[in-house]
C-alpha cells in the first residue's frame, strides 16, 4: 500500500490539475446553461487560444501570465463575433443547427491550425518553469500553483460578475427563461453572443495558465475537452458551482486512480463517475431538473 505522504502528494497533484479542468468546464457549462447546446468547438477554441499565448511569447516575448488580459479579451471578442457572425446567424434559432455548426467550426479550426501552424509540438519556456515548492513527498511546480490560484480567482470573479452585474443577471435570466427574458426587454441574441464570448474567454484564461507547463499542437485541445464534458455532467449541466467542484473532484479522482491503479486504469475512475452520475443523478451534483 502507498505511503500516506504519496497519497497526499497525489491529492495535491490532482487539485492542481483540477484547476485547469474547472476553467475549461466553466466555459462549457456557461454556454450550455444559456444556449442549451454542447459546444463541440470547445477543444479547438482552447487550442487556438493556446497558439495565441504561444505566439505572443514567441514573437513579442510576453510571459503567458502577463498575456492573460490580452488573450482573455481577444478570446471574448473572437467568441462574441463567432456567435454573432456565424453561429447565431446560420442556426436560424434551432439548437440542433448550433450543435452542427460548432462541430463544423471545430473541423475548420483544427485543419486551419494544421495548415498555418504545422503539426509540431510547441512549448513556452519561462525562467520559473523548473521552480517548485516541496511539501512532504509532493513537489509542487510554481507554474501549477499559480494556475491553481488564478483559476480559483477567475471563478470567483466570474461568479461575482454573474451575481452582481446587470449583464450577469441578464445571462441568468436568459438561462432560466428565454421567452420571459425577451418579454422583459432583454436582447436575447446579444446575451447569447456575450455568453458564448465569456465561455471562450474562460478558455483564453485556461490557455494562459496551461502553456507554462503544457504544449500545443492542433490536437491538444481535445486532451482537455473530454474531461471538461465529464466535469460538466458531474457538476450538473449549466451549474457554475458544479463545474468548479466537479473539476477538482475529477482532478483528484484521476490522480489517485493513476497512483493506485496505474496511469491507464486510473482513467477508469473518470468514466466510472460519468456512468454513476448518469445512472443515479442524471442532473449532476448541482444541476436542476430541466
Amino acid at each position: 500500500m502507498f505511503d500516506p505522504q504519496i497519497l497526499i502528494a497525489g491529492v495535491l497533484n490532482g487539485l492542481l490539475a483540477g484547476g485547469i479542468y474547472v476553467l475549461v468546464a466553466v466555459g462549457l457549462t456557461l454556454i450550455y446553461g444559456v444556449l442549451h447546446i454542447i459546444n463541440f468547438a470547445h477543444g479547438s477554441l482552447l487550442m487556438l487560444a493556446m497558439y495565441a499565448v504561444f505566439f505572443l511569447w514567441r514573437l513579442s516575448g510576453i510571459d503567458p501570465y502577463l498575456a492573460l488580459p490580452i488573450v482573455v479579451a481577444g478570446s471574448f471578442v473572437f467568441g462574441y463575433l463567432l456567435y454573432r457572425g456565424l453561429i447565431g446567424r446560420l442556426s436560424h434559432g434551432r439548437d440542433e443547427n448550433i450543435l452542427l455548426l460548432t462541430l463544423g467550426v471545430s473541423i475548420v479550426i483544427d485543419n486551419a491550425a494544421l495548415l498555418f501552424f504545422g503539426g509540431d509540438t510547441q512549448t513556452v519556456e519561462v525562467p520559473y518553469a523548473g521552480d517548485a515548492i516541496e511539501i512532504g513527498a509532493a513537489f509542487l511546480p510554481i507554474p501549477k500553483l499559480i494556475s491553481f490560484g488564478a483559476a480559483l480567482l477567475i471563478c470567483l470573479v466570474l461568479g461575482l460578475f454573474m451575481a452582481r452585474t446587470d449583464t450577469g443577471k441578464a445571462i441568468r435570466a436568459v438561462a432560466r427563461e428565454r421567452q420571459g427574458a425577451r418579454l422583459a426587454g432583454i436582447d436575447v441574441e446579444k446575451i447569447f453572443a456575450i455568453s458564448y464570448g465569456i465561455g471562450i474567454a474562460c478558455l483564453g484564461a485556461a490557455a494562459c495558465l496551461l502553456m507554462p507547463t503544457f504544449y500545443v499542437t492542433p490536437q491538444s485541445g481535445y486532451a482537455f475537452v473530454l474531461v471538461a464534458f465529464t466535469t460538466v455532467v458531474l457538476g450538473g449541466m449549466g451549474s457554475f458551482v458544479g463545474a468548479a467542484i466537479g473539476g477538482f473532484l475529477i482532478g483528484v479522482t484521476e490522480s489517485l486512480g493513476g497512483l493506485l491503479l496505474g496511469e491507464q486504469l486510473g482513467q477508469i475512475g473518470i468514466s466510472l463517475i460519468f456512468i454513476l452520475i448518469l445512472l443515479f443523478k442524471p442532473t449532476g451534483l448541482f444541476g436542476s431538473k430541466a
Binding site: 503539426g119 523548473g130 513537489f139 504544449y215
Partner: protein, 403 residues
C-alpha cells in the same frame, strides 16, 4: 435535319478533341512511375507524418531533377500523396484508392499499426510496400513478400541500445542498477518496453516497474511522483513526440534526479527539443534512427531542410533514403512491373550513405544492414555518442544532478 445545340456541340467537340489529342499529349510526356506516399499528415502524429512526406517528396524532386530512372528512359517518379489521418482504416483505404490509380509501389506509414494493415492490403495486389518508419517487428515477420523495411526495427534498436547502455554503465563503474520504464501504450511503446524488460537484467539492471500511459496524456505529475518513490537509477522512455516532451519536462520540474534518462526511439528527441529546452534536455540520451554525421550528403540535406524552416528529424532522412532505395530498385529492374520490382528489391544492395548503415541486405523483408545510433544532448545540441565509428563525442554518464 438535326439541330445541334450549343451544349451538344461543345460536348461533342470536347470528346473529339480528347480522342485525337490525348495520345499526342501522352506521347509527348516523359513516362512516369507512380509512388503512393501514405503518412499521417493530420491527426495526433501529424507532425511526424508531415516530416515523412517532406523527406519523400524532396527525394522524388531531386531524383527527377537528376534525370529520373535512366534504365526506364528517364522515367520520372510521380508522388501520390495519401493521408492516413493517424488511423488504421484510413491508411488501408488509401492503399485501395492508390491501387486504382495504378501505383507501382507504396511508401509509409510512420505508425506501426497502420504500416502492418496497409502493407497487408497492398500484398493482395502484389505491390511493393516500403516501410520508411514503423518500429514494430511484426511488420516484417508475417511472411509478406511485398514488404521491405530499410531501417532497423525495435528489436535491433533495443539490442543496440542495451549494448550501448551496458558498456557505458560498466565504463562508469556501474552507477545504474535499477530502472523504471515509461512507455506509450500502443504497439510501438508496449513492444519496446517488453523487449527492454527482458533485456535490462542481462546487463545487470533490475526493472523496478513498467509504467504505460495513454496518448494523449495530460499530466505526468503522478508518474514523476511514482518514479521518485521508487528511486530508480534510470528512467527509460519510449513515447511519441508530445508525451516525450511533456514527460521530460515534468521530470525536470519535479526534480527527479537520476543517473540518466535514456529513451529508445524517443519520439520527441530532436534538435528542437534540445535547442528549445536546453535545461530539460541536457544529458538526456536516446538510441534512435539518425543520420551519419560524417556523411557530406546528409549534412547538405540537413542544411537544405533547415533553410526551408524545417527540422532535420529522422522521418525526413529515412523517407528520403527509402525513395532512393525504390529508385535504385527501379533502375535495376528496368521496369515498374511488380514481379521485376519485387525481385530487384529482394536482391537490393543499395547503400544508404546518409545513414550509418552497411549495404542493404533484405532477409524476409528486413534490411540486415541497418543500425540505429546512440545520441546525447549536450548544451542544446544532439551529438552521436555511438557506434564508435560514427561517434562525435564520448557520452556523459552518469549525468550531473539537476540544479
Amino acid at each position: 435535319m438535326t439541330i445541334v445545340s450549343r451544349r451538344t456541340f461543345l460536348a461533342g467537340s470536347t470528346a473529339l478533341a480528347s480522342t485525337i489529342g490525348a495520345p499526342a499529349i501522352v506521347g509527348a510526356q516523359t513516362p512516369s512511375v507512380k509512388v503512393g506516399l501514405i503518412h499521417p499528415v493530420t491527426g495526433f502524429v501529424a507532425y511526424n507524418g508531415q516530416q515523412n512526406r517532406l523527406g519523400a517528396t524532396m527525394a522524388i524532386e531531386d531524383l527527377n531533377k537528376a534525370g529520373g530512372i535512366k534504365s526506364m528512359g528517364g522515367a520520372k517518379l510521380e508522388a501520390l500523396l495519401g493521408d492516413s489521418q493517424s488511423k488504421v482504416e484510413v491508411g488501408v483505404s488509401e492503399v485501395e484508392k492508390m491501387n486504382e490509380a495504378g501505383v507501382a509501389a507504396y511508401i509509409g506509414c510512420f505508425q506501426s499499426p497502420v504500416g502492418i494493415a496497409a502493407s497487408q492490403a497492398a500484398s493482395k495486389y502484389n505491390t511493393p510496400f516500403l516501410i520508411d518508419v514503423g518500429a514494430s517487428d511484426l511488420i516484417v515477420t508475417r511472411g509478406l513478400k511485398n514488404t521491405f523495411r530499410l531501417k532497423p526495427g525495435f528489436g535491433v534498436c533495443v539490442d543496440q541500445g542495451i549494448g550501448a547502455l551496458g558498456a557505458m554503465n560498466s565504463a562508469a563503474g556501474g552507477p545504474a542498477k535499477t530502472a523504471v520504464i515509461v512507455h506509450e501504450s500502443g504497439e510501438f511503446g508496449t513492444g519496446t518496453a517488453k523487449l527492454l524488460s527482458g533485456k535490462l537484467p542481462t546487463i545487470g539492471i533490475e526493472v523496478k516497474e513498467v509504467i504505460p500511459h495513454d496518448n494523449p496524456t495530460r499530466n505526468f505529475d503522478n508518474i514523476a511522483l511514482r518514479i521518485r518513490s521508487l528511486q530508480p537509477d534510470l528512467v527509460m522512455m519510449s513515447n511519441y513526440q508530445n508525451e516525450y516532451v511533456l514527460l521530460a519536462r515534468t521530470l525536470y520540474q519535479q526534480k527527479v534526479n537520476l543517473a540518466g534518462f535514456y529513451s529508445l526511439l524517443g519520439g520527441g528527441f530532436n534538435y528542437k527539443f534540445a535547442k528549445e529546452m536546453p535545461d530539460v534536455s541536457q544529458y538526456m540520451m536516446d538510441t534512435n534512427h539518425w543520420f551519419n554525421p560524417k556523411s557530406a550528403r546528409a549534412q547538405a540535406l540537413k542544411k537544405r531542410v533547415e533553410a526551408g524552416g524545417n527540422l532535420f528529424t529522422y522521418e525526413v532522412y529515412l523517407s528520403y533514403s527509402v525513395v532512393e532505395l525504390l529508385a535504385d530498385a527501379l533502375e535495376h529492374a528496368g521496369s515498374a512491373d511488380k514481379e521485376k520490382l519485387l525481385a530487384a528489391l529482394t536482391a537490393s544492395t543499395y547503400k544508404a550513405d546518409m545513414l550509418p548503415y552497411a549495404a542493404t541486405k533484405f532477409v524476409n523483408g528486413q534490411n540486415e544492414g541497418g543500425r540505429p545510433a546512440t545520441l546525447q544532448v549536450i548544451k542544446g545540441d544532439i551529438k552521436v555518442v555511438g557506434p564508435e565509428d560514427v561517434a562525435e563525442l564520448k557520452p556523459v554518464f552518469p549525468k550531473p544532478k539537476f540544479k
